[in-house]
Amino acid sequence: MSFQGVSISWPVLAPIVALTAGGLLVLLVDLASKAIPRGVLYGIGVASCVAAFVTMLPLYGQEQVTLNGAFASDRFSWMFDALLLLTLAVTLVLSSLRKAEDGGNAGAYAALLIFCTIGGFVMAGADNLIIIFLGIEQLSLALYVLAGTGFPREASQEAALKYVLLGSLASGFLIFGSALLYGASGGVSLGAIARAAAAPQGLFVAGFALFLVGLSFKLALTPFHTWAPDVYEGSPLAITAYMSVAVKAAAFAILARVAYTVFGHDSVALIPLWGVAILSMLVGNLGAIRQTNLKRLLGYSSIAQAGYIVVALAGVSPGGLAAMLFYLTAYAFTTLGAFAVMALLGDGSDTYAELASYRGLFFRRPWPAAAMALFFFSLAGIPATAGFYGKVLLLQQAFGGGPWGIGMAIALVFGTLVSFYVYGKVVWDMYAPAEGVAAVPSGNALAPWIAVVAGAAGTLVFGVLPQLFYASQPFLTAAVR
């Protein structure tokens, strides 16, 4: 170990540099004049997404590890990076819609979202404990603030407070767990930890358990999920959408990389994770039944979805990564689409999230109602939607995972049946004739339509033609060394 000779490969870091430059540019432009329209600031944000994506293209085919083995750039991280960029772009588009979303501080808001995504990039490539911690904190710190940007509403303040308290608690577990893992392995790289995992001692087991607790908090897996419905309901709509997709994806990138590089096979140390996944699937779906607020319902739904995604890791087999990425991609298109419909219909008030105001939506706004039905069918896993094939892939993995895999498969099927009722009820309500119901506020802007159409296209294409994705499976199965 020496301080000299830090190897830096700039092309690998180019996407992060592009995003950083974009974020700083947004801040500077915002500072330059108060007369700058909000759309310009969000436009710069979306442009920096495109720039970051373009800088990723030359990396294709050149997997490498830079920063002295701390930061990996491989197929696995590229997939997550692309997913994060998609989510960032959609979130920026949805946020640009109205002032209530960003509390009037468009510049700071857009810049924070971009910096948040940089944290996600760091997480996707993190190959040692220090970088994992840095990435998680960069993502979280920006999100604590963003959760509170709807601050004229009291619920948004409450969401920010709960998020920062529980998020920092989770980081506490993560740090102490990392310290014990370091003590057990003598190094912070995942490679060193993998060597210690070969002959685990008490220190390693305790450290890994605490590390998993911290990560489960961030992923909102039961029993560490209690903050999620509150934070999802209170945060501004676009931020809720971002949390439920980008934060999950980035945290799963860490979980998968740790599972594959440290264990590389189904290990006893991962059993608590399987238990937590089963609980999440049950609690997430059963908890969603009695919700009357759509944002909160999607919050419970995201707890269940996180449980489903863990199933992909059941056998820690190469196909598991492909299954996980397929499900995450399907989930991203579906969830972003559902939130885009809500943004489309909303008028900045809180009532648009009340389920009651969606009753009879079909007769007033047939197209948004149809899109919403499609997204909810996909979340439930009805055939011909992306969610269905995602669940088929997950079940395949579950059956390769021994007795715990079978247990997770049962929980997955049971959870799916419950979710048919949860999502079916919402769709039923939208198509039932309604009398004496307060009409849903009916915004109709172009920006959310783009996101709705993109979400619907993704949900259908991945649902009807999943072989497009299967074709890339050999590419993905070798994703993590």
Binding site: M1, F3, N128, L129, I130, F133, L134, E137, L141, Y144, V145, G148, F151, E154, A155, Q157, E158, A159, A160, L161, K162, V164, L165, S168, L169, S171, G172, F173, I175, F176, S178, A179, L180, Y182, G183, G186, G187, V188, P229, D230, E233, G234, R290, Q291, N293, R296
Partner: protein, 102 residues
């Protein structure tokens, strides 16, 4: 401190961590809860520094520096949020802040 064995450092770190967790669970004032969280973070720091000393390895020390830096940023954000809530409610007991439930 050449005479202090690693186990003693770990005992103190574990005790700090436990105090932090218990404090977080028992206290209802967000500022006190943040102090409890700070204890947990520093318990991790102590363990990292102790291990780094034992291994004669810098990476543990670097982790400590990074945690300390992030903790400062985190405290700034958390306190700002507490102040924002306080200005609205004149009251920061987390049991009272429960508009969101269910």
């Amino acid at each position: 401190m050449p005479g202090v064995p690693l186990a003693d450092y770990l005992a103190v770190a574990s005790a700090l961590f436990a105090v932090g967790v218990i404090g977080f669970l028992l206290r209802r004032n967000p500022i006190t809860m943040l102090m409890a969280i700070e204890l947990m973070w520093n318990a991790g720091n102590l363990a990292f520094a102790a291990f780094a000393r034992t291994f004669v390895d810098f990476s543990g020390q670097i982790f400590v520096f990074i945690v300390v830096t992030v903790a400062a940023a985190e405290a700034a954000i958390a306190l700002a949020i507490v102040v924002m809530v306080f200005r609205r409610r004149r009251d920061v007991d987390v049991d009272e802040i429960s508009e969101l439930r269910g």
